[in-house]
Symmetry: C2
Subunit: 113 residues, 2 copies
DNA sequence: TATGAATATTAATATATTTAGATATTAATG
DNA sequence: CATTAATATCTAAATATATTAATATTCATA
């Protein structure tokens, strides 16, 4: 038995890759924490040139990781799916555990005898 | 307040990028589903040349996404953290919902009028 | 210690992604 | 309808990543 199709795994890979950039992570964390944000707001909070932000937003949009709507001349972005916030949270947990590394291990050892 | 440091977000990005490859997703899903596996077993199940598998395993190892131990001349790999299985599961949910759901699509369409 | 089996590394080329700057589009306003 | 503000797109150059094939390492054992 071969498991799920390769195309599905390619989709997952593309999905992860679309998130895999420091600037895009920052954007997604802002949207997770504060809800929808205009491009201006993101630009201000990330102190980033406008075309750069737009390019990253375009990539996230292309993979339906964020969605956007227009409000007059400004465009407001939001997570396309609340589970994306979960995804970031799990990733943070994995990394946090890793960073606390030895400390956590010692702590656990002490607690469990 | 600026939020968490940029280095942390760069770490997260590197972490996602290290997973973001169809072959590595397949490896991680096998390890999630079946527990630890030797390189031989992975090679057989993925019908992939040995050096290719090793290269992907090396990348996963470099980011502490998998860990390995030797058993004589064979090397056995496992997920470094069970939460990585959660991560894959959440990603699968997001993509499943996307593939089955018209909700997001309609939302996208509405955006363009 | 020479050999074979299992795994890892290296190096080259090809391909994809990022960045930065210039320019284009869109919608509101005077 | 010309102008401005907000956002998006395009292009070329710089970086990073993937692929392939060849070679190296490690360990058990004859």
């Amino acid at each position: 038995m071969t498991g799920p199709s390769n195309e599905l795994q390619a989709l997952k890979a593309e999905f992860f890759r679309a998130m895999a950039h420091p600037m895009r992570i920052r954007i997604l964390e802002l949207l997770s924490a504060k809800g929808e944000q205009s491009v201006q707001a993101l630009q201000a909070e990330l102190s980033m040139d406008q075309p750069i932000i737009s390019q990253h937003l375009a990539k996230l949009r292309a993979h339906t990781i964020v969605i956007s709507r227009k409000e007059g001349t400004t465009v407001v972005y939001a997570l396309a799916d609340p589970r994306i916030a979960d995804l970031l949270k799990v990733a943070k947990d994995v990394l946090n555990r890793r960073l606390s590394g030895t400390k956590t291990l010692l702590h656990e050892l002490r607690r469990h005898g």
